[in-house]
């Protein structure tokens, strides 16, 4: 489903972010990308959603060759993916309901379907009673749950989470990881980039470990080991 083929990413003046990286992720997998800050985890995600283009190599997502997509083809491509960020990236002028609904609205889905799906998904992430709250009226954990609801509302094939627990306390971290596991059990592929040792060890799933832009380990039931 996701294939990185000899991918390198060099930034002029900022050195190497990724060097000759190759791996494959199959449908339904739950994969953690582990590594220190600056190891290349976020670069992998940026290349995967087409926010950056590789200096060398090819990135495939299903039938798409992401590195060859034109700017005007990116919106339609991104509707196959749900992305969750460390800083939540919610629209501050929209309430929880509208933030989640927005992902369906941009895809041109009918209002009837939106009215039906959004409350269901907000219930699923435990925010059924906070649909009218704006992001600044929600806690960090609640904001991240809204972001996850937005990422999964259009039933994407993959959910990519870039340090989703980075700004959360241990209690909310555990909540979010449980939620991602639940989404994976429903059949969605999950790619989780994190440097949180506890999270990776508790999952007991596949771990791809990056260091200085290279894959140094890829284990089916991995642990957080950097050396």
């Amino acid at each position: 489903m996701i294939v990185f083929q000899g991918v390198s990413k060099h930034y002029s003046g900022h050195g190497v972010a990724l060097e000759d990286t190759s791996f494959q992720i199959d449908p339904g997998e739950f994969v953690s990308l582990a590594g220190r800050s600056g190891a290349g985890k976020s670069t992998v995600i940026k290349l995967l959603i087409g926010e950056e283009r590789p200096s060398k190599g090819r990135v495939f997502f299903g039938q798409y060759e992401v590195n060859k997509l034109r700017d005007n083809e990116l919106p339609a491509f991104r509707r196959h993916i749900g992305v969750v960020f460390q800083d939540f990236r919610l629209l501050p002028t929209k309430n929880a309901y509208e933030n989640v609904a927005f992902a369906l609205e941009v895809a041109g889905r009918p209002q009837r379907e939106i009215d039906e799906l959004v409350p269901q998904v907000l219930d699923m992430v435990g925010l059924g009673d906070k649909t009218k709250n704006f992001p600044n009226e929600l806690s960090g954990g609640e904001r991240q749950r809204v972001a996850i609801a937005r990422a999964m509302i259009h039933r994407p094939e993959v959910i990519i989470a870039d340090e989703p627990t980075g700004n959360l306390d241990p209690f909310h971290t555990f909540e979010i990881v449980k939620l991602l596991e639940k989404i994976n059990q429903l059949g969605t592929t999950v790619v989780l980039a994190t440097h949180d040792k506890e999270v990776i060890n508790s999952l007991e799933r596949r771990v791809i470990t990056l260091d200085k832009g290279r894959v140094i380990r890829d284990e089916k039931k991995g642990k957080y080991i950097l050396v």
Partner: protein, 302 residues
């Protein structure tokens, strides 16, 4: 397609309302710019009235020899009216000239007595000529100097007023050209101020645009609501600019009338209010929407 368009309008209207302070600041700047543009329109009306008032003061009178018959004068009048430079030609017969003279000097017994002692009417018949443009009096005078006409003419006022006519023609021309240059310059300044204000407003939303892109919003759906917001900003600013200018116009009107008789700028304002509103609306909406369209462009890559 209809769903996307209706959502663009819905998002635009919602953003406009929820970004209250940003909308207020942008509308304030746009209103000031539109007040400048409205004043330019009114200024051009004042300039035109002043120009017309000066132009109406300019004419040339052609005095004919006393032995020139009325038929000959009327023939010349007809030929003058056929010239493309001529706006109107009025014939004043010798009798009319004398009657007007007597009327004008009725209070002066000496002049009245002198006139009564004369055996015949000493005044010449004349043609009073107005040109379409003050700069064309020279050409009309050249026509009058042609041998077939010059032999009938005693004198013309052009020769004695030539310098004044040329100067007035230059002033009228300069006022029109200067008015256009000032108008174009100030409209450009107003346009740039509005564009930069909207650019700053959209710069403050750059993170939101990034989020929309990540969620998979198409360029049209990202850009559309901002264009709609620009449309609202322009529309409201157009209305506010009219409300602000109306009382100023009312107070200034009587003072202007002292300088330029016949000009009532407030009457012009309220009789042309719909037309002025449409100009303002067009300027505000076009510049608001286009500025938003251009300002979002740079955030739509990747």
């Amino acid at each position: 397609m209809f769903t996307i368009i209706s959502r663009i309008f819905h998002f635009g209207a919602k953003n406009f309302w929820r970004n209250g302070w940003l909308s207020t600041a942008t509308i304030a700047i746009m209103t000031l710019s539109l007040v400048v543009s409205l004043n330019l329109i009114l200024f051009s009306v004042v300039t035109r009235a002043a120009t017309n008032s000066i132009e109406n003061e300019i004419d040339i009178s052609v005095y004919f020899n006393t032995n020139t018959s009325e038929d000959e004068i009327l023939n010349i009048q007809q030929s003058l009216e056929g010239l493309s430079q001529v706006q109107s030609v009025d014939y004043i017969s010798r009798d009319q000239a004398l009657a007007t003279f007597q009327q004008n000097h009725a209070d002066n017994p000496v002049i009245s007595q002198v006139i009564n002692t004369l055996d015949s009417n000493p005044l010449d018949a004349s043609l009073n000529i107005k040109a379409k443009d003050p700069s064309q009096y020279g050409a009309i005078n050249d026509y009058l100097s042609s041998p077939s006409i010059a032999s009938y003419i005693d004198s013309t006022s052009y020769n004695s007023n030539q310098e004044a006519i040329t100067r007035l023609a230059t002033i009228v021309g300069d006022m029109e050209t200067g008015g256009w240059i000032v108008t174009i310059f100030l409209i450009l300044v107003a346009g740039l101020v509005v564009y930069n204000t909207i650019r700053l407003a959209i710069y403050s939303n750059r993170d939101e645009i990034g989020i929309m892109r990540v969620v998979g919003a198409s360029n049209a759906l990202v850009r559309g609501p901002y264009v709609v917001e620009g449309f609202f900003w322009g529309g409201i600013s157009a209305i506010l600019s009219l409300i602000l200018v109306a009382p100023v116009c009312y107070f200034v009107s009587s003072h202007l009338n002292d300088f330029i008789p016949g000009l009532n700028i407030f009457r012009y304002f309220y009789t042309h209010i719909l037309q002025l509103f449409l100009y303002q609306l067009l300027f505000g909406v076009v510049i608001g929407s286009l500025s938003s369209f251009w300002a979002v462009r740079r955030y739509l890559k990747n």
